[in-house]
């Protein structure tokens, strides 16, 4: 238990250190954008948060796959917690994207912005995941249904992306092209540190929630034994 606590503390310290470094880089080191000025700095929050959300969804699907394939008894809860974190970061993506859209283009919401629309679809999809999960009694069936639905999610992401791309024009700035990232030097460094900070933060939150949920279920088992 103490080892696990230490690991959690290490993750938390890492997340804190990286976040501090990222904030310092974002506000004091990174140059002002020639076109958008100071407000472009929201990029260092918005994009790492979005990538972290994708990461969480993929971890959730991977754990779901492990549950279905290997019958790993801890995988169901881990998949649920990862998707929960993914939805939290997804909501943050929608919020930061919306703010950025308002500043850059003068509207809170633009359907022509592919990534935002995709995140809206994913938000709806994964919110339904919770509706489904909480309307099935705890047990193997709930684990199976949740796992299968989580796997649908990673198939839906590329399919939806393709669909939204087919449907729309190209107003959203593309920073990663096939020829590598379209920025260099300080900007790239700041972005990488921000991304690492977000990932560490997500990993810490994931561990905290997982520990809490496991304690919760152990407590319930003990209560049932005593009752």
């Amino acid at each position: 238990m103490s080892l696990r606590n230490n690991r959690l503390a290490a993750w938390a310290a890492l997340a804190l250190g990286l976040s501090a470094a990222a904030l310092a880089l974002i506000f004091f080191v990174a140059p002002n954008d020639a076109d958008q000025g100071f407000s472009q700095r929201i990029f260092y929050f918005h994009v790492p948060i979005a990538l972290t959300a994708y990461g969480c969804f993929f971890v959730g699907a991977w754990k779901a796959f492990r549950h279905l394939w290997k019958g790993d008894p801890t995988a169901d809860l881990e998949s649920y917690v990862a998707i929960h974190q993914g939805v939290i970061f997804g909501v943050l993506t929608l919020a930061t994207g919306s703010i950025w859209a308002k500043i850059s283009w003068g509207h809170w919401w633009l359907w022509s912005e592919k990534q935002l629309t995709l995140f809206l679809v994913l938000f709806l999809f994964y919110s339904a995941y919770f509706m489904l999960r909480f309307s099935v009694d705890d047990g193997p069936q709930r684990a199976n249904l949740s796992a299968v639905y989580a796997l649908f999610g990673v198939v839906l992401i590329p399919i939806s992306f393709l669909a939204i791309r087919l449907a729309q024009n190209y107003i959203h700035p593309v920073v990663f092209t096939r020829h590598g990232p379209a920025f260099h030097g300080t900007i790239l460094w700041t972005f990488c540190v921000s991304l690492a900070a977000m990932l560490a933060l997500a990993a810490t939150l994931y561990r905290i929630e997982l520990t809490g949920k496991r304690l919760d279920s152990r407590l319930r088992e003990l209560r049932e034994l005593l009752a």
Binding site: L124, M131, L132, Q141, L145, L151
Partner: protein
């Protein structure tokens, strides 16, 4: 019995039940006509035909939803699903049989809906019909799968639209694109891709939905 015979028997069971009870099909047909009538009044007189084309897709998706709500009612109320799971056939045959039956219902309703749409709004062209046919496959594959998922939960009818609609947003995009945009081939190709991808994962993972 071979796999195909299992699937055919299961689909035949649903179609036979519908022929005797006549519950789902008339409801779906009436629903789609009511929806088209509502859409007529929802659209301002000056709106274009393109807006109406979009609403055709709304009508199709929600009509499919009406049918899907009923898809697993018999299985659930009379405990048929337990019998089917115990039967010595591949579990994915249950999904395929049911999806084919739902596809039959949806296609039958569209035989009424598309002419009704061309009378009420504007004539439907070839690409639209092709898109509807391709979309039906995806809608029925995914819809049957989530209907079975929803049937295992406590909040059945409530959770089904929430599971179904985000999954069929790509179908709506592909369908509307094929109906209204020039160069419908890429949208039809996309619909075919959607059908193939989701049919495969539904087929492969259905077993986990009905077993514990």
């Amino acid at each position: 019995m071979t796999y195909a015979a299992d699937v055919a028997a299961l689909a035949r069971k649903d179609l036979l039940l519908e022929l005797r009870a006549r519950e789902t099909l008339p409801a779906m047909a009436l629903f789609v006509l009511s929806a088209l009538t509502v859409f007529h009044f929802a659209l301002p007189a000056t709106s274009s035909d393109l807006a109406a084309k979009g609403l055709l897709w709304v009508a199709i998706v929600f009509t499919a939803l009406v049918g899907l709500q009923r898809a697993f009612v018999v299985e659930r109320e009379h405990g048929v699903i337990d019998g089917l799971v115990l039967a010595p056939c591949d579990r994915s045959a249950i999904w395929l049989g049911k999806a084919l039956a739902v596809l039959g219902f949806l296609a039958a309703v569209e035989v009424i809906a598309l002419p009704a749409y061309s009378i009420f709004f504007s004539p439907v062209d070839g690409p639209t019909i092709a898109a509807v046919a391709l979309a039906d496959l995806g809608i029925c594959a995914v819809g049957t799968f989530v209907a079975a998922t929803a049937a295992s939960s406590r909040t059945r009818e409530l959770v089904l639209p929430l599971l179904f609609l985000p999954l069929v947003i790509p179908v709506v995009i592909g369908g509307v694109g094929a109906s209204v945009a020039g160069g419908s081939a890429r949208y039809l190709g996309f619909l075919a891709l959607y059908d193939a991808v989701f049919a495969i994962i539904c087929w492969a993972s259905f077993e986990y939905v009905v077993t514990e």
